[in-house]
């Protein structure tokens, strides 16, 4: 009886499914969060009777053999890089990316990480940093006597200094893009890392071909859709139940067999 182990792989797959859905729902209000989806694949097949084998000396062949599958596995859990909604916050250092691209963040370890969560702050030195205090590339410092900061769609940061008529340009925020953005590795804290499957980052300024624009005073919400997640959760729970029913049935069949007088 393979049914027991086959149904067990089904239950494991649905558990992964529920874990992923739970994480999506938990991050519904996380800035810049991209929802995940598990992808399932059928496992190996056992050939009990090979298709195409000769079934007689006359050379007739078996039209369809006997192949029994041994269950299901999780092939990948991948990020859906769909644009989230933009919400107005009115905060001057909240910046949303409208379109493709990631902000580059310098981690304390010296390596670069990437994020779409643009709720930035100022450090004690006046530098633009993330909520965790990591410098946002290329490390723009706002003068301490600035009364207002404007960031335009192309990433140019201008500071209005008290007493001066024209705002002063203090730098341009960079954006990076990847050949395969879904291949980035999530490390938590809204940060992503480059991997061999994402490709090397291409740095450019916002609004250049292939890059999105910036929107000051907005944040990008997560792209989790509550209704989709809840319906997926219901489907996952029912699938889990059905697999457990297979186990009960297989168990009952084995009990029947053991009761043979």
């Amino acid at each position: 009886m393979k049914s027991l182990s086959i149904a067990a792989t089904g239950m494991l797959a649905q558990q992964t499914n529920v874990d992923v859905i739970a994480n999506n729902i938990a991050n519904m209000n996380t800035t810049g969060y991209k929802r995940f989806r598990p992808e399932f694949q059928d496992l190996l097949y056992q050939n009990l009777r090979r298709v195409g084998a000769e079934s007689s000396d006359a050379g007739t062949i078996v039209p369809n053999g006997v192949q029994i599958g041994v269950g299901v596995k999780t092939a990948s859990v991948y990020r859906i890089t769909q644009q989230g909604n933009l919400i107005s916050t009115g905060n001057t250092l909240d910046i949303a990316i409208q379109g493709t691209g990631y902000f580059q963040v310098l981690q304390p370890s010296g390596t670069n990480a990437f994020t779409r969560a643009g709720s930035f702050q100022l450090s004690a030195q006046g530098q633009i940093v993330t909520v965790d205090g990591f410098t946002v590339s290329p490390g723009i410092t706002i003068p301490t006597d600035a009364v207002d900061v404007t960031i335009n769609a192309n990433g140019t940061v201008q500071a209005k200094i008290d007493g001066q008529v024209t705002p002063q340009t203090v730098g341009t925020l960079d954006l990076v893009s990847f050949a395969n953005g879904a291949g980035l590795e999530s490390i938590g804290g809204n940060l992503l890392l480059e991997t061999p499957s994402s490709g090397a980052p291409t740095v450019s300024s916002p609004g250049s071909p292939g890059f999105g624009f910036l929107q000051q005073g907005f944040i990008e919400t997560s792209n989790v859709d509550a209704v989709t997640e809840i319906t997926a959760l219901i489907a996952a729970q029912r699938a889990y139940e059905m697999n457990s029913k297979v186990i009960t049935t297989a168990d009952e069949m084995m009990r029947t067999a053991s009761q043979l007088r």
Partner: protein, 245 residues
């Protein structure tokens, strides 16, 4: 005398095989592009003398149901659902294999690949490459892939004369000894972008089949027990001679 028990066992083994197939169907009820399967049984006749034959049951083959699964929209531009009995071509280390699962990805070089990173082939068995900076990728019903950089290629959509001859390899891949053919009419196989074809397993059918299988398994068992009682009685009656002596 043993024939009743042997016929019963052949039936129970068949039921166990069928149960395995149902378990695999239910385990893959959320596997995209999965096609449900059931067992095909055949009679196996054996001459037992006195012009009598006894019929055993043997598994003759697996029947795969190739009807389209339900299509659901995902919003992901790299998801495609195939309508009709078409397959995508995948380049693997073991040569070209075929798949129905249309969850495509881009790899680090911008090439169109499947979940395992194997290239999805276009016309003339060439992979389809996107250019850096391509965001809006569109796939039209004929499988033509276009982006801001223009037309990138056309997904190879092939059909088979007899889909039952395909061998399943797992991971949603099929192998074929026969060469695939192009669809006769261009509209026979179409592609829907931003949607996926779910598994065509009907959970209700599988559950009812499973219940009826369990009952026939138990029924066969009862038959075996009856046979056992019958024999014990026969021995009791026939062996009664020695007891009275």
């Amino acid at each position: 005398m043993e024939n009743t028990v042997l016929a019963m066992i052949s039936r129970q083994m068949g039921i166990e095989r069928e149960m395995d197939a149902i378990a695999n169907n239910i385990a893959n009820a959320s596997t995209d592009g999965f096609k449900s399967e059931r067992m095909l049984f055949a009679e196996y006749l054996q001459d037992i003398g006195n012009n009598q034959t006894i019929a055993f049951i043997k598994v003759a083959g697996v029947i795969r149901d190739f009807t389209d699964g339900p299509i659901r929209t995902t919003g992901n531009p790299l998801d495609i659902a195939i309508r009709g009995e078409g397959f995508l071509k995948i380049e693997t280390d073991d040569g070209i294999l075929y798949t129905r699962s249309g969850r495509l990805h881009l790899d680090a070089t911008g090439m169109l690949v499947n979940a395992d990173g194997q290239a999805v082939l276009g016309d003339s068995d060439l992979p389809i490459l996107t250019f850096p900076g391509d965001i809006a990728i569109t796939i039209d019903p004929d499988g033509r892939v276009t982006s801001e950089s223009g037309e990138l290629g056309r997904l190879a959509l092939v059909v088979f004369e007899d889909v039952s001859k395909l061998v399943k390899l797992g991971n949603g891949l099929y192998d074929s000894k026969a060469d695939p053919i192009d669809p006769e009419e261009p509209g026979d196989v179409t592609v829907i972008q931003a949607a996926l074809e779910g598994s065509n397993v009907e959970p209700i059918t599988e559950m009812t089949k499973m219940i009826s299988l369990l009952r026939s398994y138990q029924g066969t068992q009862t038959m075996g027990n009856e046979e056992h009682d019958l024999r014990r009685k026969a021995i009791g009656i026939l062996g009664g001679v020695s007891q009275s002596a």
